[in-house]
């Protein structure tokens, strides 16, 4: 009985402590006194994640390859060809070449848009425990990365930098339910907001501010850009509209879009350290195809 009462007391103290920490962090926001703690954790574990990244990478690649197999059965024709290439690639160490190609495409995109990017690798990902969608990348303030910078890869927009420590930084993905990106339909002037809806980044929600504007399947979305290009630079491809919700009587129209960047299997990403001098408009969009 005495032991149980003591345990309950300890639990009470701990829960109160947790609530106090939570409240302090919530109320103080950016000037939080817990910032040093977070920075220390970021430094310590960021370094650990960076060091073991090389060991873990082949395992992740392997498991991802296995899990992607059943879904690709539909594209069996294309897959046969690709499979042979991949198998050869595994043997001859072509995986590195693939990564180099990804990097080159990233630089290509950056070149078309006139962005200045710092390339980095994803070293860790959050999803569990927690409800956020965030990744850790292996570039930090030493490489010129600052909080509130745009992150993209060779296909399109990925997210924005939330915290940056000296050698690693945390990126909140487009698919995080708390993220909102100003967006524009291609060619038109219609603007809207892209929200994450979780779902591991398979879809994002696009809310068009004008309910009378035409919105159809296959429409492509680019980022609208923020003041001084922070946190989002203009003209980065976001995604293709997959289905349009009918929302009669509402002030905005809602559509769901598939992001260009594959947010479930991110590897090489780039942080835009310098926004373009002028908005590239739709110049960066990939060539239009049937479904992708």
């Amino acid at each position: 009985m005495r032991d149980s009462r003591r345990a309950r007391l300890i639990l009470g103290v701990l829960l109160t402590a947790a609530l106090i920490i939570l409240t302090v962090d919530h109320r103080t926001g950016d000037s939080s006194p817990l910032r040093p703690l977070r920075a220390a954790g970021s430094y310590l574990f960021g370094t650990a994640e960076q060091l073991s990244g090389g060991v873990v990478r082949p395992v992740t690649t392997f498991v991802q390859a296995i899990l992607a197999a059943p879904a690709a059965r539909e594209h069996i024709e294309a897959l046969k060809e690709e499979n042979a290439k991949l198998r050869a690639g595994l043997l001859t160490g072509k995986l590195d070449a693939e990564r180099a190609k990804e990097l080159q495409r990233l630089l290509g995109l950056a070149g078309t848009g006139g962005y200045k990017v710092v390339p980095g690798n994803v070293i860790a990902r959050r999803g569990q425990p927690g409800f956020e969608e965030a990744v850790q990348i292996d570039v930090g303030t030493n490489d010129g990365v600052r909080p509130e910078m745009t992150v993209l890869n060779g296909d399109g927009l990925v997210g924005r930098v939330l915290h940056a420590s000296s050698r690693t930084s945390t990126v909140v993905l487009l698919s995080d339910p708390a993220s909102a990106v100003g967006a524009r339909l291609e060619k038109g002037k219609e603007i809207g907001v892209v929200h994450g809806v979780g779902e591991n980044g398979r879809l994002v929600q696009f809310r068009l501010l004008d309910s009378t504007a035409p919105l159809s399947r296959g429409g492509r979305i680019v980022s609208f850009g923020s003041q001084h290009g922070r946190p989002y630079v203009p003209g980065v491809p976001i995604g293709v509209i997959e289905r349009v919700e009918s929302t009669p009587g509402e002030l905005t129209r809602v559509a769901y879009a598939r992001p260009y960047a594959d947010l479930t299997a991110l590897d090489v990403v780039g942080v835009v350290v310098e926004p373009p001098r002028r908005d590239p408009r739709d110049a960066v969009l990939p060539p239009k195809e049937g479904s992708r």
Binding site: L67, I123, G127, F131
Partner: protein, 154 residues
Amino acid sequence: MIGGVSVVLALLAQVMLVNRVPLPAGGAPDLVLLAVVGAALGRGAAPGAVLGFFAGLLVDVMPPSAHLVGQYAFVLALVGYVAGRGAGGPVTTVVLCVLMAPLLAAAVGGLISDPRVTMSTLTEQVPVTVVYTLVVSPILVWLTAWGRQARFST
């Protein structure tokens, strides 16, 4: 000591390996929760709560994190307490803890009006996580409770 190490290892494995693999239905097992439950099982309520609290703090500061510090400290302290105290046999304790943790986390998130916690989180994301975690639970709890079976087999 062994409990602490296993929690850190589980956390590293979680963010570096498990979360990066796109599993079907878009979820992942929560290894950290299982490590806390496994380490707290049969240790008693007070050590369980303390272990859970510090594991939670670690979860909150481990990069990448975009939520507030203290959220998981609260959740895992309570989970550690329940796991240490025990509710019926070890099996019912583990199941109870696995069910309790995501709901508690969602409740704390709702309390500070986290935009990530909505009805669809509860109906779509939480069940997937619970199922994955329950599937993995026998292996991980057995691993973390290594060498202490004799103590909680009663």
